[in-house]
Structure formats: C-alpha cells, structure tokens
C-alpha cells in the first residue's frame, strides 16, 4: 500500500530553490532514507509533507487520501525536539496524546524503550541533549502511529548518544512501522534503511532499494613503496573503472569478479611490491559522494 505519494513538489525561499520538482513514493513497511548533504532540502521536504510549510508547486498525499487527519497517524521529529520546558516527560507526552487522540495514558513502556524512566518526573528543561532527543523519539510513538518521520535524529549527540538513538531506531524498525529517516550521515541510512532517495539542491538524484543503489562494485585500497610506478601501472590497465588517490594509497573501483591475487602477482612481476592492500564492498558513502559530485 502507498503511504506517501509526493508529486513534483517544489519550494523556493526567495531565489533559493530549496526543493525542486521532487517526486517520491513510499510504501508500507519501508524504512525510507532521505539522504542528502547539508542544505539539500530534506527538512524543507519534510516540513511540506507535515503541513507546516507551504509548497509553491506540486502535491503530496498521505495514505491515498483516505485519512481525514493523516498527521495524527504519523509520529514526527523535525530538526529539534520541541516540548514545554517546564513540564516533565509524562506531562509532555500527555499533551502529544491529547492532540493525537490515543487511549493509552501510561507512558512507562515508551519511556523504558528510550531509557528515560528514571527521569520521567524531571522537567524537560533539565534534560541533556541526548535525553531530549530520546524523549522526542518516545513522543513519535505516542498513540501508536503507522508512520514515523525522523529528521537527523542523531544530530549533535556524542558517540554514546548516537549509538543509543540508533539502537532505539533499529528496535522500532523491527516493529514493521513505515519509517522516513532524513540524514546526511550515510552510515546511519545504510545501517537502518531498506530504501533510499538521494537528493541534492532539492533535486532527486537516485532512488530505490538500498541494495540497488549500492552497485556491485568492489573497492580496493592499495599502496606500494614505488608509488609512481604503481600509479603508472594502474593507469595503464583497462579493467579498473576508476582510480583516486587517498593519502598514501590508491583507491580502485573494480567489477565484482575482479581477481585481486592476479593483480598483486602481475605487480610483483613488474617489480612493484605491494605494502598495503584492503578490499571491500563499495559503501553507500562512496556511492553517495559519486552520485552527488556528478550532479
């Protein structure tokens, strides 16, 4: 089933085109990553589909237009956690529940999930950044929504905080809810998402299941004492798709079935002795940089 259909959505801020003719479809159960560098229009897009920003062109539709108050079935964090600073966790969640119309007034399970049970009676203003973010995650789950939207949920957190939030997101993603996750952190999207759309300057550059966006290419990191010799040799080969220099080493992009042992053997025969060699699957990060740098 289609959860969200965005058609040709655009928004300008003066001369800046923040979102440019964006079309996307998100289906039930997908964990959908919205990936793009800073200022690419992720928050603006989410702002429009949650009704707080007006669009200049295009349209969007939640749940096939079947729901009268679709946003009540969606839990969202946009940019920052927004709560009444003088109210505690329970009171803030109760306000969210009041708006969304859920039945359950006991938030113990939710607060346990985000590890805030001990501090539930302290005012929001006294929370650390990580705790605020975790409360915001708990708030998205109030009234058992079908869809969750997270905009940069790990922004500004320390490594421990990032790990906590990611673990919580992974737990939530196992419940089968549809999730939309906007992030510029590729690792995050790669670890959590099933689908991804890459945007830059408001334009959609690529979209699809994470596996299909991830090509089958392999990356080889290689170094030798004779760096120039190595470079000349590699440049002369035709079975290497791209070569870049990363500090001391060369990064090679090659087809999946490439035989690394043959390469080293031939290099040795040419008198170039390899001192460093790492092979790995190409990561979304490199894919992302490749796609966005072409645009």
């Amino acid at each position: 089933m289609t959860v969200l259909k965005i058609q040709n959505l655009s928004k300008n801020y003066g001369v800046i085109r923040a979102v440019d003719n964006l079309s996307l479809t998100i289906n039930t159960g997908q964990i959908f990553g919205l990936l793009g560098p800073n200022g690419s229009g992720k928050t603006t897009t989410l702002g429009m589909i949650t009704g707080i920003l007006s669009s200049d062109q295009g349209s969007y539709e939640w749940f096939g237009g079947q729901s009268k108050h679709p946003l009540k079935k969606i839990g969202t964090i946009l940019e920052t956690p927004n709560f009444y600073p003088y109210l505690n966790a329970d009171e803030n969640l109760e306000i969210v529940r009041h708006i969304k119309g859920g039945e359950n007034k006991d938030f113990t399970d939710l607060l346990e999930l985000v590890n805030l049970k001990e501090r539930r009676k302290s005012p929001f203003a006294s929370y650390s950044l990580g705790m605020k973010q975790r409360l915001a995650i708990a708030a998205t789950l109030v009234a058992d929504p079908e869809v969750l939207i997270f905009d940069e949920p790990t922004n500004g957190l320390d490594p421990q905080g990032i790990a906590d939030v990611r673990n919580t997101l992974l737990k939530i993603s196992e419940t089968g809810k549809t999730i939309i996750l906007a992030s510029h952190i590729l690792d995050e999207v790669e670890k959590i998402c099933s689908h991804v759309a890459i945007i830059k300057k408001g334009k959609l550059l690529a979209e699809g299941p994470v596996g299909s966006i991830l090509s089958n290419d392999t990356t080889i990191e290689i170094g030798a004492t004779d760096r120039n010799g190595l470079g000349n040799y590699l440049n002369a080969r035709t079975d290497i798709k791209s070569i870049s220099i990363d500090g001391m080493y060369y990064n090679l992009s090659v087809e999946d079935g490439f035989k690394v042992e043959k390469l080293t053997e031939e290099l040795a025969r040419a008198g170039i002795f390899v001192t460093h060699l790492v092979t790995r699957k190409k990561k979304l990060e490199e894919e992302f940089l490749e796609i966005t740098s072409k645009a």
Partner: protein
C-alpha cells in the same frame, strides 16, 4: 470546546508566567481600589464628593471597572500574548501542527482562552463590585445595587476586545518581547499620538476618539470623567467620552476585526 480548553490547561497550569499574571490580576483588581482612595484626596477640588463615594453603589461599578480595564490590559492581555508567543518560542506550536492538530483548532483553543478569561474576569469584576459596594453602602436595595448602566456586559465586551487585540498582536508578531512591547506601546503612545496628529492635521475634530483602543477604554472610563460631567464642572471633558451603547457596538465590531486579523496572520504562514 472543553477538550481544547483542557489541553490549554495541561499546557499552562504549571507555567509560572501565566500563573503569576493571573494571580496579579486577581490581586490587583481589588487592591487597585486602595490606590484610588489615595489619589482622590490629592487631585480633587473641594466640591467633589469624598473618596468613599467610589466604594459605594452605584459608583463602585465604575471605579472597579476602570481599575479592571487596566488589570485586564496588563495581566490578562500579556498572559494571552505569552500563551501564543511561548508556543512559538518553544516550537510547540509547530510541533502541535506536526502532531496533527489542525490550525483551526489551535486558533480556536487560543480564542477559547480569550473567551474564558473574559468570562472569569467579568464574574470576578461583578463579585468585587458587589462585595465592596455591599460593605460600604449604608442603605440599598437589589435594584439600586445593580443600577450600573449595563456595567457587567460592558466589562465583558471590554475584556473580549482587549484580549482579542492581544491575540492579534501575538499571532501577528510572534516574538514574545516584541509583541508585548508593541501591545503596550500601541495603547500607551502610538494610538494617542495618532489621535493627536490626525485631529491636528486632518481636521477630523471629534472623530479622533473613534480609534479602537480609545473606544474600548471608553467602555470603562475613568470615573472622574463621569463625576466631572455630573457636577457640570468640566462639561467638555465629559463630552469626549463615547456613549456606552455606541462604544459597546463599535467594540464588538473591533472584536471581530481583531479575531479575523489574528486568524489571517496565522492561517497560511510557514511555521
């Protein structure tokens, strides 16, 4: 309606600013009567009645009403502004929309706040006037007690108009400090200056009294004006007041204008 009011209650019952402002309103409305007592001795020439008059029926309605018009303006008006601008600052306004609250409902919840503040303030006004009057007047009957030229509905309209104006400023300006500043300065100095300038340059004479805040103030005028008229000592001064029925009618129109402008400022704006 009750559902939205309950939500407002959950939001602000623990808020120290709103509680403090409400407390001040309840405290200073009756306490202001003491101030009037002090001022009267100084300002009034001998033929005027003693200050105790203001504690007795029927003048007590005018005296408490006048003080009430200022306590409503200062404390309840600022509480209304704060109830909107605090939600802008904490971004809970934005979050409420994101959580699925329609804009109409958010607006209505603030309108209901204006309405309930007005009802409570009016009841409190009637109670204070009756209690002070009953203790200070030697002889009275029920009819005399309530001889007040529609003071209760007048007070209610005054509250609605003042608080609707506050609501409009809040939705329009959205920043706490600036909104409160503008609200205050408009009443204290912008409108009086405009009135002065317009009557000076435009030769509109008497019409300058039909500026909105002046009309609203004339619902609950300074009792001195009335006394002065009554004693025919300052006839002209008494004439600058707008008749109650006209002031009530025009203020009601302004209530709708302010509420409409508040809605227009909020309806489509990016949050």
């Amino acid at each position: 309606m009750l559902n939205l009011l309950r939500l407002e209650y959950k939001k602000f019952r623990k808020n120290s600013v709103v509680s403090m402002l409400c407390f001040f309103f309840f405290l200073f409305t009756p306490a202001g009567m003491i101030v009037i007592l002090g001022l009267q001795d100084v300002e009034l020439p001998p033929p005027l009645p003693s200050a105790e008059m203001y504690y007795r029926f029927t003048l007590v309605w005018d005296a408490v009403g006048y003080i009430g018009s200022w306590t409503v303006f200062f404390f309840l008006g600022i509480a209304i502004i704060y109830s909107v601008t605090a939600e802008v600052r904490y971004k809970t306004l934005r979050q409420s929309m994101i959580n699925g609250m329609p804009r109409t409902e958010f607006y209505l919840s603030k309108f209901y706040l204006v309405l309930s503040f007005s009802i409570i303030a009016t009841l409190y006004y009637a109670l204070i006037s009756l209690v002070i009057g009953a203790f200070s007047t030697d002889q009275y009957d029920l009819a005399y007690m309530f001889e007040n030229e529609w003071a209760i509905p007048r007070f209610f309209i005054m509250c609605m108009a003042t608080l609707s104006f506050a609501l409009f400023i809040a939705f329009w300006v959205r920043m706490s400090g600036l909104a409160i500043f503008l609200y205050y300065v408009y009443v204290i100095s912008i409108e009086p200056s405009l009135r002065g300038l317009s009557s000076y340059f435009l030769d509109i004479g008497d019409w300058s009294k039909y500026f909105p805040m002046n009309i609203i103030e004339d619902l609950m005028p300074m009792p001195l004006y009335k006394l002065a008229g009554y004693l025919e000592m300052q006839r002209e001064k008494a004439d600058i007041l707008i008749d109650y029925p006209i002031a009530m009618g025009l203020s009601t129109i302004f209530i709708f204008i302010f509420l409409g402008l508040a809605w227009l400022s909020f309806r489509k704006r990016d949050l």
